[in-house]
């Protein structure tokens, strides 16, 4: 089955919800334990929303459905997300 795209495609929809860019974040698959970027997930867009599967074991990692005035985000396939953040800049006076 090859009718999927990369997790890169989730960047826009996730940016609408979160304050940081999430596709470069790494997550652990709850099913097989693979650690990889959100960008590497295989995303199927034929459903009413986006279904993102692990590139290692094909388990569903994330589901995102966008309605006109709200979104539903299901992250049950994800154990943990590691998100790089800028270090706080020291303020001197």
């Amino acid at each position: 089955m090859t009718n999927f795209v990369d997790g890169n495609v989730l960047a826009g929809p996730l940016r609408e919800i979160f304050a940081v860019e999430l596709t470069a974040a790494t997550g652990r698959c709850a099913s097989c334990g693979r650690v990889d970027t959100v960008a590497s997930l295989h995303v199927y867009q034929q459903a009413p929303g986006a279904v993102a599967r692990c590139s290692g074991c094909d388990a569903v990692v994330l589901r995102l459905v966008r309605g006109p005035d709200r979104a539903w985000l299901d992250l049950r396939g994800l154990v943990c997300l590691e998100i790089a953040l800028p270090e706080p800049v020291a303020v001197t006076d």
């Binding site: 090859t2 009718n3 999927f4 795209v5 990369d6 997790g7 890169n8 495609v9 960047a11 826009g12 940016r15 860019e21 596709t23 470069a24 970027t37 959100v38 960008a39 590497s40 867009q45």
Partner: protein
């Protein structure tokens, strides 16, 4: 706002986006079109240009029966309104401060975000060595041909339907000869249709490249 035909079926849109914050090579935008009756639809398009003030260039390949691409490559006229969201994406990007050698592998219109990397490298005066392997059906299907000739990148075309030269699909031998040895630890960027990207990334990993350094962008 201006347009440029790249091939008979692909067109570059030069957009002026007020308040554009700048972008990284490889990022994309989401384009939303809304009809008078309220029907609205959205597609993602890669940015083709290097960061340059409020100017953003997208190259759109017309897809048969594609409702958005047909509009953008056809009836969309200069000055026409279009709703953009972006820049988007933080993984499939090349930064001018990246020092590793770069291998770009494009299938068809997958060249677009890779061209942004080539242009960003040029604009920055970067000496980072770039190699580009570009698979197209025939020479007439290639985007940016003149610019690529003088872009300072090591360029190899693969023609799958009609040459000059041999005709056939990209193979492990192609990437072995025209890519970088895995021992140089290059950054690899692969963009194209899903099947193409799958094949190329499998070959690169088989040639010894660390999967973590093979970044992919499939467009379905």
């Amino acid at each position: 706002m201006d347009t440029r035909d790249e091939t008979t079926t692909a067109r570059t849109l030069v957009l002026d986006v007020p308040d554009w914050p700048g972008h990284l090579a490889g990022q994309h935008v989401d384009v939303r079109l809304t009809a008078p009756d309220g029907y609205s639809t959205q597609r993602s398009y890669s940015i083709a240009s290097a960061p340059d003030g409020t100017k953003v260039e997208l190259t759109v390949q017309r897809i048969p029966d594609g409702e958005v691409s047909s509009y953008l490559t056809g009836v969309f006229s200069i000055g026409g309104p279009v709703e953009l969201r972006g820049p988007i994406g933080g993984w499939f990007v090349w930064r001018r401060t990246d020092a590793a050698p770069v291998l770009l592998v494009a299938g068809g219109s997958g060249i677009v975000p890779l061209m942004a990397m080539v242009r960003t490298r040029m604009a920055a005066g970067s000496r980072v060595p770039f190699r580009l392997v570009y698979s197209i059906r025939t020479p007439a299907d290639g985007f940016y041909a003149d610019e690529l000739r003088s872009a300072g990148v090591d360029l190899t075309y693969v023609h799958t339907r009609a040459g000059p030269g041999p005709v056939g699909r990209l193979t492990a031998a192609t990437l072995d000869s025209h890519g970088w040895p895995a021992s140089l630890e290059p950054a690899c960027y692969v963009c194209g249709p899903t099947g193409f990207v799958e094949t190329v990334s499998d070959i690169l990993v088989a040639l010894g490249h660390d999967p973590g350094r093979v970044r992919t962008e499939r467009f379905g």
